[in-house]
């Protein structure tokens, strides 16, 4: 890596932000830290879907499946054998899962790896489909993964889910994994590999004519996206401390898709912004359901208003700013410079 001014600046900002997070507990409450961690995890999920859909143009609606695999594999790895024995009350847990016990970072990587492996199995048949059909087929596979998790009680504890997952996902480790995802994806996307992917997205036939093995590149991008989705899932599991199959439904995929679209398809920094803004918005909207005291009159809280407002906000974004916050542009030092430069003129 050439160490020019911009790279140096980026590293400095990342380190500074890291330092700030080390001190976060002194100025943030439990609840705020919870939200910040959720933003990091959602950012990983958004980045991974952006690689598949935003950069390669594969309309995948199966993200929840990969997230589920990551969460379950990682949870099985970090729970102690005694905890597992106690929790599997319907059917005892089978070997080798019963004795599996690994450090946290191994479990996260394992979650990603198994998700990528599953993605490979799915990719080989379905990536030949295009457009909506690919979306439906991947949605179908995500549902199949969920049904299998529900039924595979001796491994996954079925619909009872897994509770009491140790909370290894600290603020710093979430930040670390987000940085890892961001850097790997940035290196990839702004290399020749990334150019090939964008070429496939914009004109698949042209790519084929130029002698690119389109299928191979698609499979690679899909599996890589699934790998990071698995990592995000692993972190999500330890962050929430409980997982069950119901969490990983279509709504989760849709949430991630929202982060990506709101941030801008084909923009990495856009995904970060999209994840942050929508996560905060969703949490902040909880306040709408509280009874409001306007000083002279007490308005009763209306249950369910949160989703009404949220769906209206979504509609507004898509109707009035459909390219998202960033479009396909990136937030770089250069663009920031131009922005402030223009401000001075």
């Amino acid at each position: 890596m050439r160490l020019d001014r911009n790279t140096f600046l980026s590293i400095a900002v990342m380190a500074l932000f890291g330092l700030m997070l080390v001190q976060a507990e002194t100025f943030l409450g439990d609840y705020q830290i919870y939200i910040v961690k959720l933003i990091f995890i959602n950012a990983i999920l958004a980045l991974s879907l952006n690689l598949i859909y935003g950069f390669t143009g594969m309309f995948s609606l199966g993200h929840a499946g990969f997230i589920a695999i990551g969460a379950y594999v990682s949870a099985l790895c970090i729970l102690s054998p005694e905890q597992k024995e106690m929790m599997w009350i319907l059917e005892p847990i089978i070997w080798p899962f019963s004795t599996l016990f690994t450090p946290f970072w191994v479990s996260v990587l394992a979650g990603g790896a198994v998700a990528a492996l599953c993605a490979l199995v799915i990719a080989l048949p379905v990536l030949r489909l295009g457009d909506d059909y690919l979306g439906i087929a991947t949605l179908g596979f995500a549902e199949i993964i969920r049904v299998v998790i529900v039924n595979a009680t001796p491994v996954t504890n079925g619909s009872l889910g897994i509770k009491g997952i140790p909370g290894h996902a600290t603020l710093l480790s979430c930040y670390g994994w987000t940085l890892f995802t961001l850097i790997v994806l940035a290196r990839l996307v702004f290399s020749n590999f990334g150019n090939v992917l964008r070429c496939i997205r914009d004109n698949e036939i042209a790519a084929r004519v130029m002698g690119i093995n389109v299928f191979c590149y698609k499979v690679l991008s899909f599996c890589l996206g699934a790998f990071f989705a698995g990592i995000g899932g692993a972190l999500l599991g330890t962050h929430l401390s409980t997982i069950d199959p119901k969490m990983f439904n279509f709504l989760l995929t849709f949430n991630v898709l929202m982060f990506v679209v709101a941030g801008g398809l084909g923009s990495l920094t856009g995904s970060l912004l999209g994840a942050a803004i929508i996560t905060v918005l969703l949490e902040w909207l909880r306040a709408i359901e509280e009874p409001m005291n306007l000083g002279f009159v007490e308005l009763p809280g209306i249950p369910g208003m949160r989703m009404v407002v949220f769906s209206l906000v979504l509609l507004g974004i898509i109707l009035y700013r459909r390219e998202g916050i960033m479009g396909t542009r990136e937030l770089t030092w250069k663009s920031l410079g131009t922005l402030f430069g223009r401000g001075k003129q």
């Binding site: 439990d30 609840y31 106690m86 929790m87 009350i89 319907l90 049904v147 529900v150 039924n151 079925g158 619909s159 009872l160 889910g161 509770k163 009491g164 401390s241 409980t242 069950d244 199959p245 119901k246 909880r286 359901e289 809280g301 249950p303 369910g304």
Partner: protein
């Protein structure tokens, strides 16, 4: 200043004075007890009834250790994240010394996790999943657990009704249904019966004809289906349409006035387990009678019900612990709660066992001639 505004100001000032006056009347600071229940969302029905029960009990016994008891009530909106937030808020902001809550096991698990970390004792009202209190030092419940309930249902079917062939129909994506079904099957087999089949469906399914036809072909005497009341009512209707002759039996999630409304004629002969209180029970204990009378006086347009009784009981359980501990320290309360023995309540004599669950018999409801009837109690072997 306009006249209207002036009067409003006067009224406001008067209110302030009243508030100050009240604060002076109580010589000691109040003991704060947090209540988190689903007052809105899909579990709102049960949560609201339980809250009414808690309020009723507080009205009856507003003081302990000569200090007033103050309830801090928060809605957990039938949502896991909200339940955890609610408990966080009660513990951090309101500094409660004990918690009451909640209806719904998954909500209680989320809340209990936070309470355990903060070392504040909590008592669940009607969360029957064994995992709620498993391994917890500070969490208890005022109800029985699913393995016990499943065993009671099996005992009633085998011993009292004399059935030998059972089958199970369950929502495999629902932890409550899966747990109860498995406990029922285990107990029924242990008693000597056979379980002919376990058929599954997923949440949101509305067509059960395939499973029911299959069950009809297997000819069981009884089918155990621990569904929620809305789903359960559809199952009853479809079973009747297909000409099923087996009995259907549910669990405490079927205990809802709407079961009869939604099921209509198809509910005839339906059975379900529940907590040992019902307005139609014969030979009511003095405590149960006191609850019934108090409820009828306070809420004349609402029928007395088991969720109300559970909320009522939970409050007394905590107040009793505070009294015996002779202290409002969370740790002392937790210790006293664990030692609760033979406390007379509306749901019979209540003791807390080693796994922090209340021990009480299981009630059985049957729908006869378009009415729900409390037919008796079972203690599983």
């Amino acid at each position: 200043m306009k006249l209207g505004t002036f009067f409003a100001f006067l009224a406001g000032a008067a209110l302030c004075f009243c508030a100050v006056g009240q604060a002076q009347a109580a010589d000691l600071p109040p003991i704060k007890v947090g209540v988190y229940l689903p007052l809105t969302g899909q579990n709102a029905f049960g949560g609201q009834l339980e809250l009414e029960g808690v309020r009723l009990a507080q009205k009856e016994m507003p003081q302990v250790l000569n200090r007033p008891v103050e309830l801090v009530i928060v809605d957990n909106k039938s949502d896991k994240v909200e339940a955890a937030n609610a408990v966080k808020r009660l513990v951090e902001r309101d500094k409660v010394v004990a918690l009451i809550g909640t209806y719904g096991s998954s909500l209680a698990m989320a809340g209990a996790e936070v309470a355990e970390k903060a070392m504040i004792p909590g008592v669940g009202t009607s969360c029957t999943n064994p995992l709620v209190t498993q391994g917890k030092k500070y969490y208890f419940r005022a109800c029985f657990i699913d393995p016990y309930q499943g065993a009671a249902a099996a005992t009633y079917a085998y011993d009292t009704l004399g059935f030998r062939k059972a089958a199970v129909l369950m929502d495999m994506t629902n932890d409550y249904a899966v747990g109860l079904s498995s406990f029922f099957s285990r107990s029924f087999k242990k008693l000597g019966g056979t379980v002919l089949a376990t058929l599954k469906y997923s949440s949101g399914d509305q067509d059960f004809t395939a499973q029911l036809t299959e069950l009809i072909a297997k000819k069981p005497d009884i089918v155990f289906m621990p569904a929620y009341f809305a789903e359960g009512a559809i199952i009853m209707k479809q079973a009747r349409e297909l000409g099923a002759t087996f009995r259907l039996m549910g669990a405490d999630a079927m205990d809802n006035p709407d079961t009869l409304k939604l099921g209509g004629k198809a509910a005839e002969g339906f059975l379900h387990t529940t907590f040992p209180y019902d307005p139609t029970m014969s030979g009511m204990s003095a405590e149960a009678k006191r609850f019934t009378d108090a409820w009828k006086a306070a809420y004349p347009d609402k029928e007395t019900n088991v969720n109300g009784a559970l909320g009522y009981n939970t409050y007394f359980l905590i107040v009793d612990a505070i009294r015996r501990a002779n202290s409002a320290e969370p740790k002392a309360i937790a210790k006293a709660l664990a030692e609760t023995k033979d406390l007379p309540t509306a749901l019979g004599k209540l003791s807390i066992n080693a796994s922090h669950d209340a021990e009480m018999p299981v009630g059985i409801i049957e729908y006869k001639n378009g009415k729900r009837v409390y037919v008796g109690e079972v203690t599983p072997k």
